[in-house]
């Protein structure tokens, strides 16, 4: 077909999304001067931190063509236990948070077991654990609001230089996961599995172990995200982690990481995706738009991004 059109399309597909993002920023900035202010940027990076971390875990799993929609519930369980340890058992905050992370890994391992050993379709497996874990957490907290101790809440707004502590942590995690994916045998094996699980087995790669570990990692990051988000709000409520799984998937997908696995960059993907949704939320908030608008636009963005992804995936094949 005519090459100009194709080149335009490809260009739009490869660079289109950042452009759309830029346009959105400019529009919001124009409508609400405060939006482009440094304070707001800091604030956005602050609010993003937990979901960025959780999305990193999701990205690791998705990179292999799998899914983990139990992340929100894992974060909730981990933080529920931790908060009780802090408030009722009087554990030191640090220790309790450590416990939360361990719990996250344990629950992640459970997911990995179900997927790898019981060979249950990841979507269904994590759907099941998503429900079960949420029930568990509600049972543990008896669905009360648990107010976190001062030291923990203080951390929610702790700043290191110009940035908030959790922003820094999120960036560190993002970078670490990126390096793990790009520069380690584990990460490359992940990508290989995402490319073609059968071929990966034929070449003799440790498919089972890699998938299992990636679920453990995802669980760990989910718990970490839970800790940070609880610290921000200053209390553990039943809202903790609710709907996060879908947001995380959306971020990963919008970030151009293919659900078929193997494609996309975790660093740029997660950053871009998370930024997109935060910009929409904060932007709409600034221009005083009807807040219920947010979901609608969010869904639209996911859809557009996926359509672009579908085209991008089609391109190699229609050549022959």
């Amino acid at each position: 077909m005519n090459t100009l059109a194709t080149r335009l399309r490809d260009g739009a597909l490869t660079h289109g999304f950042p452009l759309v993002l830029l346009v959105m920023v400019l529009i919001f900035g124009g409508l609400a001067p405060g939006f482009l202010g440094l304070a707001n940027l800091r604030g956005m990076l602050h609010s993003m931190a937990p979901i960025v971390i959780i999305a990193c875990g999701m990205a690791v799993v998705v990179m292999q063509g799998k899914l983990d929609i139990s992340v929100g519930s894992i974060g909730f369980v981990a933080m529920a236990v931790a908060s009780l340890l802090m408030t009722e058992q009087g554990w030191p905050v640090g220790l309790a948070c450590g416990a939360a992370l361990v719990i996250g890994m344990a629950l992640g391992a459970l997911n990995g077991f179900v997927v790898v050993v019981l060979r249950v379709n990841p979507l269904i497996a994590t759907l099941g654990t998503m429900i079960a874990f949420r029930g568990l957490a509600l049972q543990i907290t008896d669905s009360r609001v648990i107010v976190l101790p001062e030291s923990m809440r203080g951390f929610g707004n702790l700043t290191l230089g110009p940035l908030f502590a959790d922003t820094v942590i999120a960036l560190a995690v993002l970078l670490a996961v990126h390096l793990l994916h790009r520069n380690t045998g584990f990460g490359r094996t992940m990508t290989a599995i995402g490319n073609d699980e059968q071929v990966a087995r034929r070449v003799g790669l440790p498919v089972g172990r890699t998938v299992f570990l990636s679920f453990v990692l995802s669980g760990f990051l989910a718990a970490l995200g839970g800790v940070l988000s609880a610290a921000q709000v200053g209390s553990v409520t039943t809202f903790l982690g609710r709907g996060l799984e879908f947001t995380a998937v959306a971020i990963v997908v919008v970030g151009g990481i293919s659900l078929f696995g193997g494609r996309g960059s975790i660093l740029t993907g997660v950053a871009l995706g998370a930024l997109t949704f935060e910009i929409i939320r904060s932007g709409l908030n600034h221009v005083g738009a009807n807040p219920y608008f947010y979901q609608l636009i969010g869904g639209l963005v996911i859809f557009i991004a996926m359509y672009a992804a579908a085209l991008r995936l089609k391109r190699p094949t229609d050549g022959a």
Binding site: G34, V145, R153, N285, G288
Partner: protein, 327 residues
């Protein structure tokens, strides 16, 4: 754990009730249990039922279920209560519209129905018991206006609304709006709906503060998530007790346990209590009245227990303030 205890005590009461003649089984349907407020209500109801029950010679037993914020599940739960043949149904509605169907169903089964705390927007029940959210917002607003006037502050307020599916949230917003219209000391410069979700309390407040740097006061539809507001204010460097230059004037509703120490420390300036104890007491009174076939003598909007205004000065002196003593 709690549910287990509850069912145990139920069994015990059942056993007891066999002896005494006049018994009443009340089915209680919570829309959700995500705040200490509900736990407090429940505990007070059971306690009051014992006290008033003995006084009136009625043995009251409870059947309780929770709907996890899903209206169709609440409908199912209430149907389950009906089939269990309770003598009276008390429900805190998740959805002011949807509860009507349950009231209709109960009526069809000849079971009286009390909407608790959240009134029905459609079918009218036998009685409604709750706090007077509108009055609550008005009294808070008036007190707040007086205070700011006295301090010579021109109030530029951010309003954090609740979930608009909750009739109380709507009434509180209305009450606040009425005061703002009437009093020159107050203006609302931003409205933030929160769905009662703490995360939205935080991010919404933080965003509003950034979008409106000149804001100096806030009306918060409920202080169950006060820590989230605190986080947002800390982020903006406006979290300071009254008297300090960067103090941010706060008027809240309910004065729940989490808020009490903050008011004592002078961070919250005005609040109107949401009296779990009074609500429970009133509910049980109405329940027994209905049981005996007497008229509970409620107002047009139902039997509403008004809240009491509290400030850092007065909070120490208010008697039996449940949120100070509870737990």
């Amino acid at each position: 754990m709690k549910t287990l205890l509850c069912s145990l005590s139920m069994a015990a009461l059942l056993a007891a009730s066999a002896a005494i003649a006049d018994t009443q089984t009340i089915g209680l349907s919570w829309n959700s249990k995500t705040q200490p407020l509900e736990s407090a209500w429940e505990d007070y109801m059971i306690a009051e039922a014992k006290r008033q029950g003995e006084a009136a010679g009625v043995t009251i037993t409870w059947v309780i279920n929770v709907a996890d914020a899903d209206p169709s599940r609440q409908a199912s739960n209430i149907e389950d209560l009906i089939t269990q043949g309770v003598d009276l149904i008390v429900a805190r509605a998740e959805d002011a519209g949807a509860i009507g169907a349950s009231i209709r169903a109960a009526r069809a089964a000849g079971i009286p129905f009390i909407t608790f705390d959240r009134a029905s927007a459609t079918v009218a029940p036998e009685a409604h018991v709750g706090g007077d959210s509108f009055d609550q917002a008005v009294t808070t607003g008036q007190a707040f206006a007086d205070l700011l006037g006295a301090k010579g502050v021109q109030g530029q307020c951010i309003e954090l609304q609740g979930a608009l599916t909750d009739i109380n949230a709507v009434n509180r917003s209305k009450g606040w709006a009425q005061v703002v219209d009437a009093r020159p000391e107050l203006t609302t410069i931003a409205q933030v709906p929160t769905e009662w979700n703490p995360e939205l309390f935080r991010s919404g407040m933080a965003n509003a503060l950034r979008a409106n740097p000149d804001a100096n006061c806030a009306f918060i539809a409920s202080d169950f998530a006060i820590t989230a507001v605190q986080a947002a204010l800390e982020e903006a460097g406006r979290w300071a007790p009254t008297g300090e230059p960067n103090h941010f004037w706060l008027a809240t509703q309910d004065l729940l346990p989490g808020a009490v120490p903050l008011m004592e420390a002078g961070y919250i300036d005005v609040s109107t209590t949401y009296d779990a104890f009074k609500h429970a007491e009133e509910l049980v009174r109405v329940a027994i009245a209905l049981h005996k076939g007497e008229d509970p003598a409620c107002g047009d909007d139902g039997c509403l227990a008004k809240g009491r205004v509290a400030t850092p000065e007065t909070i120490a002196t208010i008697e039996n303030l449940w949120s100070k003593t509870y737990k």
